[in-house]
């Protein structure tokens, strides 16, 4: 347990750290943050030679451009000539010449803020956060010096909390600013120059910001050839802002370690969730794009330019709902059969003592070791002999059988984990073994049953290879096979493929989310004692 004096000391240290960091941050913002190299003029000449006619014309054109630029803007620029030589198959030397007129300038944070660019606004916000955070901390500490965080009044507590959040916001805004610079000043402009997006507003702002509004019509070309280098003050801001945040936390809470650990936990969870959701985001946006945009090689948009709900109609027209229905039937049936066979077996193994019990458990695990892919020929022969090929019941039985191992293993574990006393009591009451199982044990073992159900359902839902071979009537295909029609010899229709995949994923995800609570407790009962 910490003493009060100690805590007050920490608050003082934190305040000092924060104020120094805030001042440093504001100072760094007035230094040059980024260096821009823009090519005012660029011309590439293929299949030419230094000194030939084509070259001389181009060179004089470039020099005129340089002169005009210097005269018009009054800034310095230079002409660069890159020559690439090679000998072609006929033994003739040809060259590729690039003529570039370049101009360099650096810009400070304040210049950014005055520019009207989105990046500038972000920087403005950052500066505001830093300043406010510092002020809040100073005010709250001055109002109640020497008090431990726990004894603070509401007002001061609020101020300190706000200061913390502001510091955190500043730390988050910084990387966002760095990325925005790239997007706004480089990518959007170069897409605009290629005629792919409208960048007029951005370009006119860049013109004011970088070329003092003198680039005029050339602004787009100049900006399109621009490259950006981040200078050290920008990088230095990172540790400074981190220090600000640490200081604020110290002032606010009196200690640092626990808060940082908590922050790391949240960071981990957020990163994890974003990573997991990423493919679903891709599936979602692709599902509503048109065919051309699904293979967009200019990487224009993060979202579909137009959300095409018609894609859903298109896949429904091509039978996806029917496939979905088949899959539900198939998975549901397989689950029912697996449970109907699995529950008595698991019950016998959990509650009765007989020869061959362990052998059966071992056998069941062994049977899992063949991938269904491997057994295609055997399964196909079997099903034809039983008259079950090309039928959904046949697929149900196969899927139930291949999931029998998991079902029996998990249910066996669940039943064993439950004390037999209740059933014994029920038996004495004259309820019979079957009655005891149904009325007493199953309700108690519900989580394990639910888990098994989900597991078998998912596996049957996802099965692909066996259905491909066994089902020959298209109207009986499950969804996994049904969606192969979207990759034909002539074309892969990514958008329709993913729209169907989305449709197929949603029911299972919803089912899973509803039942997630049972899932964990079910695995507990089965897994630990397994």
């Amino acid at each position: 347990m910490r003493t009060r004096g100690n805590t007050a000391g920490r608050v003082r240290t934190g305040l000092l750290l924060s104020l120094i960091a805030a001042a440093l941050a504001l100072m760094l913002l007035s230094l040059p943050l980024c260096e821009f190299t823009s090519s005012v003029y660029s011309k590439r000449l293929g299949n030419t030679k230094v000194g030939d006619e084509k070259y001389v014309t181009a060179r004089s054109e470039a020099e005129a451009e340089l002169a005009r630029h210097i005269q018009e803007t009054g800034r310095t620029a230079e002409l660069r000539e890159d020559v690439l030589e090679r000998v072609n198959s006929k033994g003739v030397t040809t060259t590729m010449i690039t003529l570039t007129v370049e101009e360099k300038q650096t810009r400070s944070g304040w210049a950014f803020m005055a520019s009207g660019l989105t990046a500038g606004r972000e920087l403005l916000l950052l500066a505001a956060c830093v300043a406010l955070s510092g002020v809040f901390l100073a005010v709250s500490v001055l109002r109640s010096p020497g008090k431990a965080p726990r004894q603070l009044s509401g007002m001061d507590k609020g101020l300190r909390g706000a200061a913390c959040w502001l510091a955190l916001a500043a730390l988050i805004i910084l990387p966002v600013f760095m990325l925005t610079c790239n997007v706004e000043l480089i990518r959007r402009v170069s897409l605009g120059a290629a005629g792919l997006t409208d960048a007029t507003a951005t370009v006119s702002r860049i013109d004011r910001f970088l070329f003092e509004g003198k680039a005029g019509e050339n602004a787009l070309t100049m900006a399109a050839g621009m490259s950006l280098r981040r200078l050290w003050p920008l990088w230095a801001l990172l540790p400074v802002l981190a220090a600000l945040l640490c200081g604020a936390i110290l002032v606010c809470r009196g200690s640092l370690g626990a808060q940082l650990a908590r922050g790391a936990l949240y960071l981990f969870v957020i990163v994890l969730c974003v990573l997991i959701l990423y493919p679903y985001y891709v599936m979602l946006i692709t599902a509503f794009r048109d065919n051309a945009e699904s293979t967009d090689m200019n990487f224009l948009h993060l979202w579909p330019t137009r959300w095409l709900w018609g894609n859903l109609n298109a896949i429904v027209d091509r039978g996806v709902l029917q496939y979905l229905g088949n899959s539900i039937l198939l998975a549901g049936g397989a689950t029912a059969i697996a449970l109907l066979c699995g529950i008595p077996a698991a019950y016998a193994m959990a509650r009765m003592r007989f020869r061959g019990r362990n052998a059966y458990l071992g056998f069941i695990i062994m049977s899992q070791m063949f991938a269904p892919v491997v057994l295609l020929v055997g399964i196909s022969t079997l099903m034809r002999n039983l008259g079950l090929n090309d039928s959904i019941p046949g697929l149900m039985l196969i899927n139930a059988a291949f999931n029998q191992a998991f079902a029996v293993w998990l249910l066996h574990g669940t039943f064993r984990a439950i004390s037999p006393e209740m059933e014994q009591a029920a038996c004495i009451d004259g309820c019979g073994t079957v009655g005891a199982l149904i009325r007493v044990l199953l309700p108690m073992a519900m989580p394990g049953v639910v888990t098994t159900l989900i597991f078998v359902f998912i596996n049957a839902w996802n099965e692909y290879t066996i259905s491909t071979v066994l089902i020959s009537t298209p109207a009986k295909r499950p969804i996994t096979v049904g969606i192969t029609q979207f990759s034909s010899f002539n074309m892969i229709e990514w958008h329709l493929l993913f729209a169907s995949a989305l449709l197929a994923t949603i029911p299972v995800v919803i089912l899973f989310m509803c039942i997630e609570k049972h899932l964990v407790s079910g695995l507990t009962a089965g897994g630990v004692k397994g």
Binding site: P393, V434, S472, T484
Partner: protein, 421 residues
């Protein structure tokens, strides 16, 4: 205990229901497997894609007494499905696929003369029929074909200031200049050495160097000097950075999309590329076709690819004549210009029968030029028994070479593997 008993009853019921489902006399049912060529194949055969009806419906209406159990299978799965069903003595009656020699040599197929009506047989392009002949027997009929040519982006070549290459040396020049001009942002040359269609690349280069799969006598000549040189040249294009970055996994779809987006300057492709570009909405691209470049002093040769329809033997069927007739009726109906023209133009391939030509040319004048290309095209040696192995082996050799294998050794090994047996 009751529970258990009822459970058993359920199971038994389920099994028996399914077992007695199929038993009907008089009506002959044909199992047909068709490959999925385009987005609309399934709809045409089974949905509403054929003037609001489907091929199966129309056929069954026109031919009472014959039922079609028609299945449209994706190319990815068709070999799996067919070979599993053969192992299981459950081959389809009619199959549409690219290979046939293995099936024919193992006595699984019916000769075409057994089932194909004579007027229909006479309608096929004779040169196509020859591609399915082993010895004296024709085992399959062509269903469609595609011809390959060089597609190039006119704007890119103009901007760089180069002509379309006709020889390999020129190709390398042009490629280097495109690389220089665009700083490597645009790939000059498309190359597909994937398991999907790598054998086509083998044909493009070896035929362009006077080599090929077989020699003049028709014997396997996979490791000829011409072939080694040709494959080394193709691999050289990759190593010099003139091609798309991963030829072993980038399929024709990737190449066509790159070409459509203007990221690829030249690619060898089938006659269906224009409609691919239209369907995908690549409207901004200005392109043209030319002959496939060949080595200096060698003649450029077009490449033709053909798929087939074949009928499997089913000795267990009591009335063979009736079955053959039914298969014949299927073929007759399928190749009837009223049906076939619509299908070929929908899938965007070239026809295999004379009766379809006039109408297709009327629909799309560019067909005529393509048919001429096809006339002079070389085809894979699909009639040779080892072709399936050669196809896989050539792709394997290419992919080994891509990761640094010695082309000479690889082709020697392939030749030994094919002829050594």
């Amino acid at each position: 205990m009751k529970k258990l008993v009822s459970l058993f009853l359920c199971l038994a019921l389920l099994l028996s229901c399914a077992a007695f489902a199929s038993a009907e006399e008089d009506v002959i049912t044909l199992d047909v497997i068709i490959c999925q060529y385009g987005p609309n194949t399934q709809d045409w055969f089974l949905g509403t894609g054929m003037d609001g009806s489907s091929f199966v419906e129309k056929f069954e209406a026109a031919n009472p007494g014959i039922k079609l159990n028609l299945e449209v299978v994706s190319w990815n799965d068709v070999y799996t499905v067919v070979s599993t069903r053969i192992s299981d003595h459950n081959a389809p009656d009619i199959l549409n696929i690219d290979v046939f020699a293995d099936y024919a040599n193992e006595g699984l197929l019916l000769p075409v003369s057994d089932w194909c009506p004579e007027d229909l047989y006479a309608d096929f392009f004779p040169s196509f029929i020859e591609q399915s002949r082993i010895g004296d027997t024709v085992w399959a009929v062509p269903d469609l074909a595609s011809a390959r040519a060089l597609y190039y982006n006119v704007d890119i070549l103009n901007e760089v200031g180069v002509e379309v290459p006709t020889t390999w040396a020129e190709l390398e020049d042009v490629a280097q200049q495109i690389i220089d001009f665009y700083d490597g942002e645009i790939y000059p040359w498309g190359l597909d050495m994937t398991t999907d269609e790598g054998q086509a690349a083998f044909a493009y280069y070896t035929w362009g160097n006077g080599g090929g799969f077989v020699d003049a006598e028709g014997n396997w000549a996979l490791n000829s000097d011409e072939n080694v040189e040709a494959i080394e040249f193709a691999i050289g294009l990759v190593n010099k950075g003139y091609t798309n970055p991963s030829p072993a996994t980038q399929t024709r779809y990737d190449l066509q999309d790159m070409f459509g987006a203007g990221k690829l300057a030249m690619v060898i492709g089938p006659n269906s590329i224009p409609s691919y570009m239209a369907q995908k909405g690549y409207t901004g691209i200005n392109y043209a076709t030319a002959g496939i470049p060949a080595n200096a002093g060698k003649t450029s040769s077009s490449v033709g690819v053909m798929d087939r329809v074949m009928a499997f033997r089913d000795d267990s069927y009591p009335d063979q004549a009736k079955r053959n007739e039914a298969i014949g009726k299927f073929a007759k109906f399928f190749y009837d210009p009223a049906n076939y023209v619509g299908w070929v133009s929908m899938e965007d391939f070239l026809p295999a029968v004379n009766s379809a030509v006039a109408e297709l040319v009327a629909q799309n004048p560019s067909f005529e030029a393509w048919l001429n290309v096809l006339d002079s095209a070389q085809f894979y040696p699909t009639t040779k028994a080892e072709w399936a192995d050669v196809k896989i082996g050539s792709i394997n050799a290419e992919q080994q070479a891509l990761i640094g294998g010695n082309v000479r050794e690889l082709l020697d090994a392939l030749q030994a593997q094919i002829t050594g047996k």
